[in-house]
């Protein structure tokens, strides 16, 4: 008779989330995507242990591209310790047997939702982004065939019209995340789910960026050293978020060279503090500045 303990023990047969054939298909889709920068490649999205809409697409890519000697970082909105990030990281680790880290500089594959690391990534690193809605023209057209035609013919007039209407109504282009960009002067992509702050990092980056949408069953990619240009009018420059107030530890402020993306932490009394979104990066910075003990870095269960 089995005990609960034996049942709970990781079974190497069942902890393998993705079989080799599936991985091969996903890798092929990924290679196609890299060969046609910005083009949304359809793929057979598998059932994953995470629900649709919770990163199944990114997860499949990570599982497919990662090798036994790779190091993987998974984080969500800048936090490695969040429930979802931790869950996904554990899945990858148990399924593929890879090592994990919170330090972006050490990781070969970084799976993310909503942020690109503040550390500049280098050649050989792969950024895997979890994408809820891969279609940049989603708000503008519903018909699938028409969407396919628009991408095929580079007919993005409707996108431009919606940007025009946006400026007319609001004075600025109001998109916050998922800002549409032209990749390699050809396809327009949704840079969902990253904020505008991170968009310039994609342009001519030395690393690979892979975008996975599990529910929508699409993969698109930006190969290294590729042009990624945000769609904007010649007389309306692309702007990133402003640093509204100095961060809690004072290392990032509007007066100094704002070099990190801040998020607001509202307090019970209605006030708020601003902290760096990229928690790991911030922690290392604070250690270097003597504001934090080095031991406190390893808070996150890997």
């Amino acid at each position: 008779m089995s005990s609960i303990a034996t049942l709970v023990q990781a079974d190497p047969r069942t902890s393998r989330v993705l079989d080799e054939t599936s991985k091969r298909e996903i890798r092929r889709a990924t290679l196609t995507a890299l060969a046609i920068p910005g083009y949304q490649v359809p793929f057979g999205s598998r059932e994953m242990p995470v629900a649709r809409g919770w990163g199944s697409g990114g997860l499949q890519i990570t599982l497919a591209v990662v090798g036994p000697t790779n190091v993987v970082k998974v984080y969500d909105q800048g936090e490695d310790g969040g429930v979802n990030a931790a869950n996904l990281r554990r899945l990858v680790r148990d399924s593929e047997g890879v090592a994990t880290t919170t330090d972006a500089r050490e990781a070969d594959v970084i799976q993310t939702r909503h942020r690109v690391p503040e550390d500049a990534l280098g050649e050989g690193q792969i950024l895997v982004l979890q994408v809820p809605v891969p279609e940049p023209l989603r708000g503008v057209e519903r018909d699938m065939n028409e969407l396919r035609r628009m991408h095929a013919e580079s007919d993005y007039a409707r996108m431009w019209v919606s940007l025009y209407e946006d400026v007319v109504r609001n004075g600025v282009i109001t998109r916050t995340t998922g800002y549409p960009c032209t990749v390699d002067d050809r396809y327009v992509i949704a840079t969902t789910p990253i904020p505008r702050w991170d968009v310039p990092k994609l342009h001519q980056a030395p690393h690979i960026a892979l975008f996975g949408a599990g529910r929508e069953k699409r993969i698109y990619a930006i190969p290294p050293f590729t042009d990624v240009v945000p769609l904007t009018f010649d007389d309306i420059p692309f702007e990133v978020e402003e640093v509204a107030a100095p961060c809690r530890c004072g290392l990032v402020s509007p007066d100094g060279a704002a070099d990190a993306y801040l998020v607001e932490l509202p307090a019970q009394d209605g006030t708020s503090t601003w902290v760096c979104s990229d928690a790991d990066w911030c922690a290392r910075r604070r250690v270097d500045a003597g504001l934090l003990e080095a031991e406190s870095l390893q808070e996150v269960e890997l």
Binding site: D155, A157, V161, V168, D235
Partner: protein, 279 residues
């Protein structure tokens, strides 16, 4: 005929099986457009004409005459069965538009060929503002400067007498006559050399129609565009065109100078048509 902008040669459109063989037995002399042999409908057959820059050619006919079929074939909204359609501005007239792919045909609609439809919702996106509809054409043509786009849109709307304070309102909130004005502005946005107008004032109230008609008349004179005006309304044809064709059962039964057709129609059907309109 050195100076032409649009040329149509032996244009034919058949709905149904049979090709050229089913045309026999149809036409004005037989009084029908349906082929007695295959049952196919001969929408139009053996249509040929040319239009020069600054000239407006009228195509008159009653419903079912095939005039709208001809227009849609030229516009690219329909495939032709036979014949050639050429634009001076495309390979100097060497390329038959029918041989182009759908996407090449669509590209022509950006700045080579514009269409004003009877129903404004066919030519406009009703959910988008008046200025936005024009921005659609301008950005398709490569305009990327917001200020310039807005200025050109305002200029066009002013010229078509759309109140400027409505420039940012969605076209769905506009009356029929106003929608037609926006359609005109949009059609002329990229200064196309050829303009097709399909029953541009039909369906509008009389007073509104008169205003739109006058506007079209002025615009045609000012822009020097080569225009084809399809209408069943003699008033429209007389006001806008100086040459025209009369269509019946898919064929051209008579063509001539507009004033000649109205005062001295030769063909029996033309005489009936003019008589009914002019008394």
């Amino acid at each position: 005929m050195n100076d032409w902008a649009l040329r149509v040669q032996e244009l034919g459109r058949i709905y149904g099986p049979g090709g050229a063989e089913c045309v026999a037995g149809t036409g004005p002399e037989f009084g029908r457009s349906v082929s007695p042999t295959t049952g196919a409908v001969v929408g139009c057959w053996d249509i040929g004409f040319h239009v020069s820059p600054g000239e407006a050619l009228g195509v008159i006919g009653e419903s079912g005459s095939g005039k709208s079929t001809v227009m849609r074939c030229i516009a690219g909204d329909q495939q032709t069965s036979t014949g050639r359609i050429t634009l001076r501005s495309v390979d100097d007239g060497a390329t038959d538009l029918g041989s182009l792919t759908d996407s090449e045909r669509r590209a022509l609609r950006i700045d080579q060929l514009a269409v004003v439809y009877q129903d404004p919702s066919e030519g406009l996106d009703l959910h988008v503002s008046a200025g936005g509809n024009i921005a659609d054409r301008l950005t398709a043509a490569g305009w990327r400067h917001f200020g310039n786009i807005r200025e050109r849109a305002a200029e066009l709307l002013a010229r078509t007498e759309v109140p400027l304070d409505r420039m940012d309102d969605p076209v769905a909130t506009f009356s029929g006559g106003m929608r037609q004005r926006v359609q005109l502005a949009k059609a002329l946005a990229n200064r196309p050399p050829v303009l097709l107008l399909d029953e541009p004032t039909t369906g509008l109230d009389a007073s509104v129609a008169a205003g739109v008609l006058d506007l079209i008349r002025d615009l045609l004179e000012e822009t020097g565009v080569a225009a084809v005006v399809v209408s069943h309304d003699f008033n429209v044809i007389e006001t806008l065109t100086r040459r025209c064709l009369v269509m019946h059962h898919g064929r051209v039964v008579e063509e001539g100078l507009t004033d000649q057709l109205l005062e001295d129609p030769q063909d029996a059907y033309s005489q009936r048509l003019v008589g009914a309109a002019r008394g």
